[in-house]
């Protein structure tokens, strides 16, 4: 008698635990994202940004490759666990090519009152008739300098209208005065230096990134950049996030993604200034970064995913995302007066960069799919060979143009802004 009582009790409690686990699984939304991979950002996403969301959501940041592979293999296997996918514009093409993303026209229709930027909504269609992701948040790359550096600005130069040659003079006069190379770039293994060459240097000097990759203008651009590099801190090849060397005083002037500069601006707003990227012969090349939210086909919990999208695009949550993790709203929203000073400085620099009459925005690569990494490699290798290894510019451009051409032909990707539209794969002239 006693034995069977225990048996029943054991069985019952097992059942209880099991049903609890099952209930949790069905109720919880799995939100996988290529954004907020640093542990602090992920924690702020979970504990602050998603705090008021009605429902259970499990936020899992992943690197780009596992993100893509996971969703693709889940959709292929017909057992989808990922309920909501958050990524950059450029993370989605491989998923779209495999038909792994659900159409979210209905979600956008529900969010009419959000006043999304139309440019971003169009980007979210990815060149199709349907909405494939909902704009989530935006960022870009800007420059930050220590106030100590301002006294060395060349005569007549202003940080807000700086040209590339003025930047070189500025860094040179700092080096003359201090004996140290105080300009820095994120050229480390996880740094975003290739975005500088693709979205800032090339467009500013050639109004292109692909078609005029090996043009004469590009050659003289690299020669100029090589002479600027003489004043760059050589530890740049190990910098991934420029906020750290800025805060430690290893560099005084830096270019990087706004999210990778925010600690400097937030911790010591009085010691730093934020300003737009420099201007080249064709204008101020810069790269807006757009992140979006998409729903995988066969999402186990579509209603919860839609609710999460609705939540994340609310004005107050957009502001919370900005304050916590440094990504800016994609909807029209008035920034509150009590924003931290560092964030306000970043917001001002971004607005100046985007709104001036020399603005030359260029997109992150479009349509390269899984080859996006190798596209970046062309720019990384070109930089390493010309700048770090001092190889002949013309020879490097000619040989890397071959790699670039191969990627364009294999992916058949047409040109994207600022390169002029092409009918076939984007040509490398």
């Amino acid at each position: 008698m006693k034995k069977s009582k225990w048996l029943w009790l054991g069985l019952l409690s097992t059942l209880l635990v099991l049903s609890g686990v099952l209930a949790q699984q069905t109720a919880s939304l799995l939100f996988v994202s290529t954004q907020f991979t640093p542990i602090e950002e992920a924690q702020r996403m979970r504990q602050v940004i998603l705090k008021d969301f009605q429902g259970r959501v499990e936020f899992i940041p992943e690197d780009n490759a596992p993100f893509t592979n996971r969703i693709l293999s889940e959709v292929r296997a017909g057992r989808v666990n990922v309920g909501l996918a958050g990524g950059l514009h450029g993370d989605f093409p491989p998923l779209i090519a495999a038909g792994a993303l659900d159409n979210v026209d209905d979600v956008l229709a529900q969010l009419r009152d959000r006043r999304f930027s139309q440019t971003f909504v169009n980007l979210g269609r990815m060149g199709t008739a349907n909405q494939l992701y909902i704009p989530w948040m935006q960022a870009t790359y800007i420059m930050v300098a220590s106030r100590q550096a301002l006294q060395y600005l060349p005569a007549g130069a202003s940080v807000n209208t700086l040209t590339y040659s003025q930047l070189r003079e500025w860094a040179a006069s700092i080096q003359r005065a201090t004996g140290r190379r105080m300009l820095g770039f994120p050229a480390g293994p996880r740094g975003l230096m290739h975005r500088f060459t693709q979205g800032y240097l090339y467009p500013s000097y050639t109004k292109s990134a692909v078609t005029r990759f090996r043009s004469d203008e590009a050659e003289s651009m690299w020669l100029e950049f090589r002479s600027l590099w003489q004043h760059v801190n050589p530890q740049s090849t190990s910098y991934d996030f420029m906020q750290e060397p800025l805060l430690s005083g290893e560099v005084w002037i830096a270019w990087d993604h706004i999210a990778r500069l925010r600690d400097a601006l937030n911790q010591r707003p009085n010691d730093f200034v934020a300003f737009p990227a420099p201007i080249g012969p064709y204008g101020r090349g810069f790269m807006p970064v757009l992140a979006g939210l998409a729903i995988p086909k066969g999402s186990p919990n579509r209603a919860a995913a839609v609710a999460a999208i609705e939540y994340l695009t609310r004005p107050d949550v957009q502001i919370a995302t900005l304050v916590q993790n440094g990504f800016f709203p994609v909807i029209q929203v008035r920034l509150p007066e009590n924003l931290p000073q560092g964030i306000r400085m970043g917001a001002d620099a971004i607005a100046r960069q985007a709104q001036s009459n020399v603005a030359l925005p260029s997109l992150l690569p479009v349509g390269l799919g899984a080859r996006g990494g190798e596209y970046n490699k062309v720019f990384q290798d070109t930089f390493a060979r010309i700048i770090l290894r001092n190889e002949d510019v013309r020879r490097v451009l000619d040989s890397e143009a071959g790699n670039l051409r191969r990627i364009m032909n294999e992916t058949r990707a047409p040109c994207w802004s600022p390169d002029p539209a092409s009918s076939g794969p984007c040509p490398v002239n």
Partner: protein
């Protein structure tokens, strides 16, 4: 009686299955990945792209160089430490524990510790500035000073991974009966002779294990190098990582993995042949 013959096989079966599932299978998959093209046919394209890559020669050079420098250094140091420990009687455990502390530290953490020492605003520069040797912070870990990055990596690796060799050798030394050494002493052997003729030959199996283990680990060196040198000191395992993660080309990444595997196998066979112990020879 009969069933007992099968018991050992039954008992090792789970571990064999485990190894087949989690090592042999991925190994075969990686091999296949490296020789398959995007279309699915057999190809050497991945290996050609690897060989033509900007970082391949440097990665191969630095990986082999690091192995050749680090492994002998560690074995000599560990052997010295193990012998010293053998002649300590009081506080022996304390030394043992202190020397094995680095075993508990992940290689990434070890890299970060050494980065904190060598970086521009790091401990080394603060110390040198403090005692007045240098006026301005020196750059130790930049692409302009690859030799210094190399030295920093060697220092970090020796600090981090000598303990594993040490532990294996201590265990090996404890297996050697004291009587042999005492007998040799009775016949008038000097300490050096006792070490050469008695201890070292009897330690050979442990040395072999330590060398094989350390060499394979040295060929896979990655986290410490990435932290200290970034891409300035390319190594094979790092390139495999970059090709898989950053360039998203699993084929070329697999080609790098196959190269590492090939070198590891060759090194292991070499050790097995060159350091054949006395017992093996008799048997």
């Amino acid at each position: 009686m009969r069933s007992e013959r099968y018991i050992p096989y039954v008992l090792i079966l789970p571990s064999v299955l485990f190894l087949l599932l989690l090592f042999a299978w991925p190994l075969v998959e990686a091999l296949l990945l490296s020789v398959r093209g995007s279309g699915g046919g057999w190809t050497l394209e991945n290996f050609q792209r690897m060989a033509a890559d900007l970082y391949f020669r440097d990665a191969l050079k630095y990986t082999l160089l690091l192995t050749v420098v680090i492994v002998p250094l560690q074995v000599v140091m560990a052997l010295g430490m193990a012998l010293l420990l053998g002649s300590i009687s009081k506080g022996r455990d304390l030394f043992l524990y202190v020397w094995t502390i680095p075993l508990g530290i992940s290689d990434l953490a070890a890299g970060i510790v050494w980065l904190a020492i060598f970086t521009e605003r790091g401990y080394l520069n603060s110390f040198l500035q403090g005692i007045g040797v240098i006026q301005q912070p020196q750059l130790w870990l930049s692409y302009e000073t690859p030799m210094m990055i190399f030295v920093a990596v060697v220092a970090a690796e020796v600090w981090r991974a000598t303990a594993i060799v040490f532990v294996i050798l201590v265990a090996g030394l404890q297996l050697i009966p004291k009587e042999y050494s005492e007998a040799a002493e009775v016949f008038g052997a000097t300490p050096w002779q006792r070490f050469r003729k008695v201890t070292l030959p009897l330690l050979m199996p442990s040395l072999q294990v330590a060398l094989i283990l350390r060499t394979i680990l040295a060929l896979e060196v990655f986290a410490v190098v990435v932290v200290l040198g970034g891409r300035n000191l390319p190594v094979l395992a790092g390139e495999a990582y970059f090709w898989y993660n950053t360039y998203q080309n699993p084929g070329v990444a697999a080609a790098y993995a196959v190269i590492i595997l090939g070198i590891s196998v060759v090194a292991t066979l070499l050790y097995l042949r060159l350091l054949r112990s006395r017992q093996d020879g008799v048997a």
